[in-house]
């Protein structure tokens, strides 16, 4: 599935398309079946140069009942910086944000390279 996103021209914050409006919460973003299904709204967004900058589609997946971006960068973008949890969209602290946090910072991989234990 896809979500259409862009940055606000005036404020620079990440926005998510929702039926002709731009939402600030990732969870409110409208989902599309794929690139083709989203193409018309992408074109619409590209026709709004005084509202948003550089609209594009991101891939999303469902994780335990919540939709989250697949790309790590987009997860951070939907949340805010990890060194200031009180800054950015993550400050909302609601269930959608928590799901996003869990998906983003779930146990890291053990790594493919073995280290010598010290």
């Amino acid at each position: 599935m896809k979500v259409l996103t862009a940055n606000s021209l005036e404020t620079g914050e990440a926005l998510f398309w929702n039926k002709g409006q731009w939402a600030v919460r990732f969870a409110d973003g409208e989902r599309f079946e794929g690139d083709e299904a989203a193409a018309p709204v992408l074109a619409q967004a590209e026709g709004q140069p005084t509202a948003v900058v550089a609209p594009y589609l991101i891939d999303v997946e469902e994780v335990e009942g919540h939709w989250v971006p697949i790309a790590f960068r987009e997860r951070l973008r939907a949340l805010g910086p990890s060194n200031h949890r009180q800054h950015g969209k993550q400050a909302d602290g609601d269930a959608d944000v928590e799901a996003l946090v869990a998906a983003t910072f779930v146990a890291r991989s053990a790594g493919r390279v073995k280290l010598i234990k010290r």
Binding site: T11, A14, A54, R73, L76, P81, S109, G111, V113, I116
Partner: protein, 540 residues
């Protein structure tokens, strides 16, 4: 430091008025984003993950307290109450709105601050020795020349649409504390045998995807001819660099493609043709600029009151403080380079009281209070400690340099801040850190190398492997006189493994080190093999 007079300030105001017009044209749709982008970049405004980022220039890393207080005010009024000092001695604000930017620039202009050409394909903020004017070993104050270059390059009509960004650094002591060999142009002030000031000119350094060390193209350039020579280099670059592949458009590529000899020949030929009389500054103007950097009046002191010389006191923490630093710094676990508005105010207060109203930013993201009298150090320390700024760890393993990384920056592939914090927490014991000694760790979140990882004794580069953050370790880099680029140790390790890997490297160093060797020295002597074996099971 250079005092802006009415004419200089009018330049700043005209610039800010121009940007207001340009922003208005963009907001109304009169110009496209494509047409607007270079204009906003030339006013320091990036569009990043969460908001616009504004990069404010701190020319050659020197601030007066009125400026530092204004930065604190701007950070709390228009941002989230903190700012980030960068590896190029600028200040970044990460939560800026485009519509506030013209007002911010107006406010900065009032105290002689600006964001002119801090981004874009133009000549950027010129960096100099962070201890300029406060150190006994300099031949001249390099900031004089940094200011000369700053003025000449400001709104330069010919060189504002270069193939890529252009960075110049100046150093004037025997020891290069400005890492000039990693710049597009590095300038080393020297004296000829006859006692005349001259420059050694180096060209073609740079970090990023393909790091290079700059090569000398001229050993002796009479100081008064600096601008006409820079003019020649810039014209050759502007005309002859590629324009078809953004990754091949820094001057280092042109120098490598032509070879140093041919590149030098073209520059010298161009220089012979340009009209130096039109470009070089008259002696009167050089003297006027230089007069702004007159050494401050110091009361005679019993010993040198410089950063590196201090007596031990009874307090062991303070003794460590005096061993390591007489300047403000961050606490391990905080974000490298970040200071809150409150902390900036504290530093401004201290600078007014103890360091003649002057503050410096250096390229390792630390702040320097120059000119502090030895006798005043205990009082300074006490105040810094209150504000959480008295960590005695300059150049130690916890004094990590890191770019903002994927937490903020659209160019990044991985986060840099959490790794820095994890390492700093692992080595937080100040005695252990001091026992390890000088060990600069530099972390970049992508190959653009804003964390200067090529120049770290341990350099760390964040990479994206199938959507996960991995970190490539390199050893043996240095930005100083003994400049060298770090060498890759082996395959990238995961975020979780990184602190363990650093521990393994440190322990290897401690096992192998000989008398007086820093980490860097041991690596250079033993080579990478013992370190590889310590980190990677398969390396034997």
């Amino acid at each position: 430091m250079y005092r802006y007079d009415d004419l200089d300030r009018q330049m700043l105001t005209d610039r800010s008025n121009e940007f207001r017009l340009q922003a208005e044209r963009r907001l109304s749709g009169d110009i496209t984003e494509d047409q607007f982008k270079p204009l906003r970049l030339m006013n320091g405004l990036y569009l990043q993950l969460h908001a616009y980022m504004l990069r404010i220039a701190i020319p050659y890393g020197t601030l007066n307290t009125a400026q530092l207080r204004r930065l604190a005010w701007v950070a709390s009024t228009y941002d989230k109450g903190y700012g980030h000092f960068t590896t190029r001695t600028n200040l970044q604000l990460h939560w800026i709105k485009l519509r506030d930017a013209p007002d911010i620039l107006d406010s900065l202009a009032e105290v002689g601050l600006h964001a002119i050409q801090t981004s874009g394909n133009c000549i950027r903020n010129v960096t100099a020795d962070p201890y300029a004017g406060a150190t006994a070993d300099e031949i001249d104050d390099p900031r004089v020349w940094a200011e000369v270059i700053r003025q000449w390059s400001t709104v330069h009509p010919e060189f504002s649409y270069l193939p890529r960004k252009f960075k110049i650094a100046v150093t004037a002591a025997e020891k290069d504390r400005a890492a000039i060999r990693s710049y597009d142009i590095g300038l080393h002030v020297r004296r000829t045998r006859e006692g005349e000031l001259s420059f050694e000119v180096l060209v073609g350094g740079g970090q990023g995807r393909t790091p290079y060390l700059a090569k000398t193209i001229r050993e002796h350039l009479p100081a008064g001819r600096l601008l006409s020579y820079l003019d020649a280099i810039l014209r050759v670059y502007n005309r002859q660099s590629r324009r078809d592949n953004i990754h091949k458009q820094r001057i280092k590529i042109l120098v490598a493609t032509l070879g140093v000899e041919e590149f030098t020949r073209r520059v010298e030929a161009e220089w012979a043709l340009n009209d130096g009389a039109d470009i070089d500054l008259p002696d009167t103007e050089l003297a006027r600029i230089r007069a702004n950097f007159r050494p401050l009046a110091f009361e005679p002191q019993p010993a040198k009151s410089q950063a590196f010389e201090a007596a031990k006191a009874a307090d062991a923490e303070f003794a460590r403080f005096t061993r390591r630093n007489v300047h403000a710094h961050k606490v391990p676990g905080q974000t490298p380079g970040d200071a809150t508005s409150e902390q900036m105010q504290v530093i401004a207060d201290l600078a007014d009281a103890y360091s003649q109203g002057e503050v410096r930013v250096n390229y390792t993201q630390n702040l320097v209070l120059p000119h502090v009298k030895l006798a005043d150090v205990p009082a300074v320390y006490a105040r810094l400690k209150e504000a959480g700024l008295a960590t005695a760890n300059i150049d130690l393993i916890t004094d990590i340099i890191a770019c903002p990384g994927l937490d903020y920056c659209t160019l990044a592939n991985a986060r840099a801040i959490p790794v820095a914090q994890a390492i700093a927490r692992r080595f937080a014991d100040p005695e252990r850190a001091e026992a390890i000694g000088e060990l600069p760790i530099k972390i970049s979140g992508c190959i653009n190398a804003c964390g200067h990882h090529h120049l770290g004794a341990i350099g760390i580069l964040g990479v994206d492997k199938k959507g996960e953050e991995y970190y490539q370790l390199s050893l043996g880099g240095s930005g100083g006189d003994d400049a060298s680029l770090a060498s890759i140790l082996g395959p990238a390790v995961s975020a979780n493994q990184t602190p363990d890997a650093i521990e393994a490297l440190v322990e290897t160093y401690l096992v192998h080190r000989q008398e007086g060797e820093r980490f860097l020295d041991t690596v250079r002597r033993t080579g990478l093999q013992p370190f590889k074996e310590a980190v990677y099971v398969d390396a034997h």
